[in-house]
Amino acid sequence: MNEHDRTIPQTAPIQSATFSNAVTAEIRRAAATGIYDIRGGGAKRRVPHFDDLLFLGASISRYPLEGYREKCGTNVTLGTRFAKNPIELDIPITIAGMSFGALSAQAKEALGRGASAAGTSTTTGDGGMTPEERTHSTKLVYQYLPSRYGMNPDDLRRADAIEVVVGQGAKPGGGGMLLGQKISDRVAEMRTLPKGIDQRSACRHPDWTGPDDLEIKILELREITGWQVPIYVKVGGTRPYYDTALAVKAGADVVVLDGMQGGTAATQDVFIENVGLPTLACIRPAVRALQDMGLHREVQLVVSGGIRSGADVAKALALGADAVSIGTAAMVALGDNDPKWEAEYQKLGTTAGAYDDWHEGRDPAGITTQDPELAARLDPIEGGRRLRNYLKVMTLEAQTIARACGHNHLHNLEPEDLCALTMEAAAMTQVPLAGTDWYPGKPGSDY
């Protein structure tokens, strides 16, 4: 019998789970180029997330509020601890920091327009404050980053809040980078760098290290701004209990906690996928730190990283956050990864929904680019309208859930409104597994 005889049943080709096509393709790419893969966005791997939680809704033990009839508040005040002028927002969904440089000026303007129309704030990024975003943002948070690109006291005083960025979820412990393709004349001037070079941002602040120094740095920023505006401290999700406690000890008005699904403009893929905690795992330890210090709700907690819908908003708030922040979802609302650009995505070797080479500056949607022709594809007025709509929908969705749980304000959502679908989610959130009153590690239980 000939083993190549086609009439005999053959062993089917079996792809290795360990050496999958994606893995071997990356090995070949690395061997050919000699550089790690750089991309934008957050972790793409499957991790426990808000999808692993459900709301219980009202029944006999709780009664619901009438949808569309009974009030369900959505406002939030950030920075009530020390600032003379806390930020008052109509909705608990803010726009995360994204830089001019990473994004086009039109995209930054659209973010400002959309956020303002929805009654919320937007945030600068690693590149300073542009007139476009200041003009079009009713409430603008100014990021204070290790690179200090564009940093100056005038913009500092023009801000409605200051966010000291210690880290971000996509790359906790890592610095930033903006490849030379996106260093246009204007970006280079704002960052005091030669045009066309790969811009590196340091992973640590240049003039402080550790929580004791941070306390003095915050004092300096408050003295420069007359104690007028809130000071946020943003950390990547790594050790949320201690990072939150130390940020509060250092004097933060607001702690921003970014999980590993939170996006970045450009970082090594190996970093994005292998460092940090899922957003879901960050919230309860941070809330517990605030509660242990007696400052839950006095120091506000803003959570980001993979927020997509009003359900995600409601779940984050039920776990104890005061607000959430969105970045990737806001870009999608503007038009990022829209299938209408599929032909151009194909030319770039990708497909709509998977495009993440934001660092290359060739974004067909005109958002993550400094190319004037591509950037002109995004109408900032239309983009702003789309973002406003999306923010309104998320808010309505969160209100729908809160009313169904019997709450007249989103901040009245609580862990007891939730159940977990998986053991992992139950363990991470201390929310009981669905149909039980138990979660792993529950005090008094054996497991």
Partner: protein, 227 residues
């Protein structure tokens, strides 16, 4: 001269008073008494006033200074004149870490020594140190001039961009992508001007110039060991 005594006046009152001085103020001369190492003294100033701090300061003295001249008669703690935009800051004694960090303009003069990371991420400031500077100074320095009349510690100018470094004494070691460069006539002129403005008695010809080799400006796998 107007005096503010930090033994009795709160820090907030002192900074608010100095920050409130308008460009046309007649009260141009100020002195701060009993600083006692306090942090954030004379930060965020934005007027052509002269402030003399009689003693030593803590962190971030004269941070983000614009226009003002701040003179510390003692030594300064970490981050003196950080992110300075313009004006002049003079330290009679020594300066701790991060002196002039991310500074964008103006002149910082340190009569004594400066500790590590002097001029880190500097973006246009001019710094003149009469003594020595510590390790990792001018790390990722983007623009401006750092003049060192004494010696420089390890890894001078690591990963620097377009800042110019001038050292009269010994350099313990150069950081990644930092090299010695030819001292041309235009550099001698820059140096002469800086030494004169800092009132330092030294000859430009005694200095050596260092700058970026520009090999790390765009990623190259053959330079991976230097990243």
């Amino acid at each position: 001269m107007q005096s503010i005594d930090l033994a009795t006046a709160p820090l907030r009152e002192m900074n608010a008073t100095l920050q409130a001085q308008a460009a046309q103020t007649n009260a141009t001369q100020w002195e701060i008494l009993n600083p006692r190492g306090a942090h954030a003294i004379a930060v965020g100033l934005d007027a052509p006033i002269e402030v003399t701090v009689r003693g030593s300061t803590g962190y971030y003295c004269a941070g983000m200074n614009k226009q003002a001249t701040v003179h510390v008669t003692g030594s300064a703690g970490p981050g003196v004149a950080e992110n300075m935009m313009s004006g002049t800051v003079i330290i009679d004694g020594d300066a701790s870490q991060y002196a002039g960090a991310t500074g964008r303009g103006g002149l910082l003069v340190i009569r004594g020594n400066a500790s590590s990371r002097c001029g880190i991420s500097m973006k246009g400031i001019d710094i003149v140190v009469q003594g020595n500077i510590g390790h990792m100074s001018a790390f990722m320095a983007q623009a401006g001039n750092l003049v060192v009349c004494g010696d420089a510690g390890e890894a001078l100018g690591d990963s620097l961009y377009e800042a110019r470094l001038f050292v009269r004494g010994k350099v313990k070691s150069l950081g990644a992508d930092c090299i010695e460069k030819e001292m041309r006539a235009e550099h001698l002129e820059i140096l002469r001007d800086l030494l004169a403005r800092a009132e330092v008695d030294a000859r430009p010809e005694e200095f050596r110039r260092y700058g970026s080799a520009r090999k790390l400006y765009n990623f190259d796998i053959d330079n991976a060991a230097a990243y």
